[in-house]
């Protein structure tokens, strides 16, 4: 039983990483109806910016705030420059655009900061949390930040004018435009917010997986898995999905013989496919009725 509790706790700790990333994935899906395959790379780039700022002697929280602003503006700039002109293009073209973005960001980061692994500090320290060896203060802090973000997003989407306008623009663009919402800018805003949330995720993940240009590859896939499990339309679902995927991955690795580390990834992927097939809208997603 103790093994079980320990594994669940460890799973929740890793799940926090996935939850963070899934939140960013869902955020952009809400705004533009696409999955951004370059999301992980954008988050990685932001984290490098934060690292660079700290190297220049700016304290952690200063760098944190500057990075948030940089990412928010960066996200908007990418949308305006790259994806706004493609707004009417078919989905396939968008995916190609994401792949191009992925290649560019990865390559530029690699050239600027090279591929050696870098340490990234944590604001929460790394001592054991409440005396437990399994979960460090950093991981506890990460869970805390994820939950705070979730609450903030909830309030934003539920009670602020801009949040409501963004939701309207995403669900029924035509009608939203008719009541005077600038839908085009709402999409840009969505990109900016997703980039900012992604940068928070990046800065929280970096102390655990270490900073390097390819650090997000695995995390993004798990982030997708989490977002799909929770339902791509629900931020709450994404966070719960993240924790579920983390716990599931750990339990399968412990209790099913022969799985080990090698098969962890295929299992996360099998989970995506299973959830998609059984419940395509995820656990908390809303159903979309289609008509001709």
């Amino acid at each position: 039983m103790e093994l079980f509790t320990n594994q669940v706790l460890a799973g929740i700790a890793t799940g926090a990483i996935y939850a963070c990333m899934a939140l960013a994935v869902v955020m952009i899906y809400q705004a533009i109806d696409h999955l951004n395959f370059a999301q992980g790379e954008m988050a990685m780039f932001s984290t490098f910016i934060a690292w660079q700022l700290m190297q220049w002697g700016i304290p952690y929280w200063g760098a944190f705030a500057l990075t948030l602003i940089f990412s928010f503006v960066g996200g908007i700039v990418i949308e305006r420059a790259l994806f706004k002109p493609l707004a009417k293009a078919p989905v396939l073209t968008h995916v190609a655009g994401f792949i191009a973005l992925f290649a560019i960001i990865n390559s530029v980061a690699g050239l600027t900061w090279d591929f050696t692994i870098k340490q990234f500090p944590s604001p929460f320290g790394s001592s054991p949390f409440l005396g437990s060896q399994l979960i460090s203060t950093h991981q506890a802090g990460m869970i805390g930040v994820t939950l705070i973000l979730l609450v903030l997003l909830f309030i934003f989407f539920r009670y602020t004018r801009v949040g409501l306008a963004m939701r309207a623009a995403a669900t029924l663009p035509e009608s939203a435009r008719l009541v005077g919402i600038n839908t085009s800018w709402m999409i840009a805003l969505g990109w900016g917010m997703a980039a900012a949330i992604g940068s928070i995720a990046g800065m929280l993940i970096a102390p655990v997986v270490f900073l390097e240009p390819n650090m997000m590859g695995g995390v993004l896939i798990y982030g997708f898995a989490a977002a799909v499990v929770g339902g791509l339309t629900s931020p709450l679902g994404a966070v719960i999905g993240g924790f579920l995927v983390g716990v599931f991955e750990n339990l399968v690795g412990t209790y099913i013989p022969g799985v080990g580390n090698e098969l962890k990834l295929p299992i996360a992927l099998a989970l995506i496919i299973t959830v998609l097939v059984v419940k395509p809208n995820g656990l908390f997603g809303r159903t979309i009725v289609k008509r001709v």
């Binding site: 995916v95 390559s107 896939i221 992927l269 008509r291």
Partner: protein, 342 residues
């Protein structure tokens, strides 16, 4: 809370009229003549690159049937490519089957695998399908490394495949054909067969059914098209053709290993379709040229930034030619038409 969404507002691909999916006879013959003559004048290494180009063209064509005709997404083609490559390699090295005979088997195995994968994929559309196939592509190298199959697959190390010689009958006729040259013409013959098959498939009842599903699934089913059958069939055919390409690839590269079939291959094939023009079969050649040669060009321009250069070239292409090489072909056609009038 449920939202009603109009299906017609977000097409996966722009509808392509049936006639526009292939080239006219004259243009086809010119391209064919070029493909036959060029290798006679270039070095062996370039012949090898041209062989790979044709092989990727087959794989891009396969994805084009799936995406362009039936409107389904796939980022998982590398999995079927790997399956085909391994089928060919295992049959050649462990069973001792002739290389040419392994290709139909590879195609059949992948057809069945694709058909079966198409069944759960039926419930998914658009981005969800992209995700599910993406998962398949990411998982494939891991599965190939599994210890259980190691006796057959060679595990992480992979398998070495013997390169076939040109048939002796050519030598007795006094023709000296190098291995590379022979493989090129063999690949070309397979490519032509597959191209003719695909064009005819799209012209047939099944092809029309797939296009009806692409354009409007609900309307198609209301008109009596068996949606699930044709969707899975498209998956199967596409996977089968990809498998043949994979088998050819294994023979040409003389080597199969799990890390040769990562998600990057799937992404490359996907880009090939976008660059070549979705739903335009001859565009597969242009798309394959893009994925074979552009990374080299990018590497040439800047070593450190090759990824960035590649990305920028890709962005330029999707901005200037959102419909890929197809758009270029139409422009050329329009110009020729104008010249003729004068």
């Amino acid at each position: 809370m449920s939202t009603v969404q109009d299906v017609s507002t977000a097409p996966v691909v722009a509808a392509v009229p049936k006639k526009a999916m292939a080239l006219g006879p004259l243009a086809s013959l010119i391209i064919l003549a070029l493909l036959i003559v060029t290798p006679l004048f270039v070095k062996n290494f370039i012949i090898f690159q041209m062989t790979m180009w044709l092989i990727y063209a087959i794989a891009v064509l396969a994805l084009n049937i799936l995406t362009g005709a039936s409107g389904q997404f796939s980022l998982g083609q590398s999995a079927f490519y790997a399956l085909g490559a391994y089928t060919s390699a295992i049959l050649m090295e462990h069973v001792g089957v002739n290389y040419a005979l392994t290709l139909p088997v590879a195609g059949l195995v992948c057809f069945i695998a694709g058909f079966l994968f198409g069944l759960p994929a039926l419930r998914l559309s658009g981005i969800y399908l992209a995700l599910a196939t993406f998962a398949l592509a990411v998982a494939m190298p891991q599965l190939l490394k599994l210890g259980v199959f190691e006796h057959w697959t060679g595990g992480v190390q992979g398998l070495v495949v013997t390169k076939p010689d040109a048939p002796e009958i050519l030598a007795s006729l006094g023709l000296k054909v190098s291995q590379d040259m022979w493989l090129y013409f063999f690949t070309l013959a397979v490519t032509i067969l597959i191209y003719i098959f695909s064009v005819n498939l799209l012209k047939s009842r099944s092809g029309r059914a797939m296009m009806a599903i692409r354009d409007n699934e609900i309307a198609a089913s209301a008109m009596g098209v068996d949606v699930s059958l044709y969707k899975t069939l498209a998956f199967g055919v596409s996977a089968g053709i990809t498998g043949v390409a994979g088998g050819l690839g294994a023979i040409a590269v003389q080597f199969v290993a799990p890390d040769g079939y990562t998600i990057q291959l799937a992404i490359a094939l996907f880009l090939g379709v976008v660059v070549g023009g979705v739903g335009w079969l001859p565009g597969s050649l242009a798309g394959a040229a893009f994925i074979v040669f552009v990374p080299n060009i990018a590497e040439h321009i800047s070593k450190g930034l090759s990824g960035a250069v590649f990305g920028v070239i890709l962005i330029i292409i999707i901005f200037l030619l959102p419909n890929g090489a197809r758009q270029l072909a139409y422009l050329a056609q329009g110009l020729i038409g104008k010249l003729r009038k004068h």
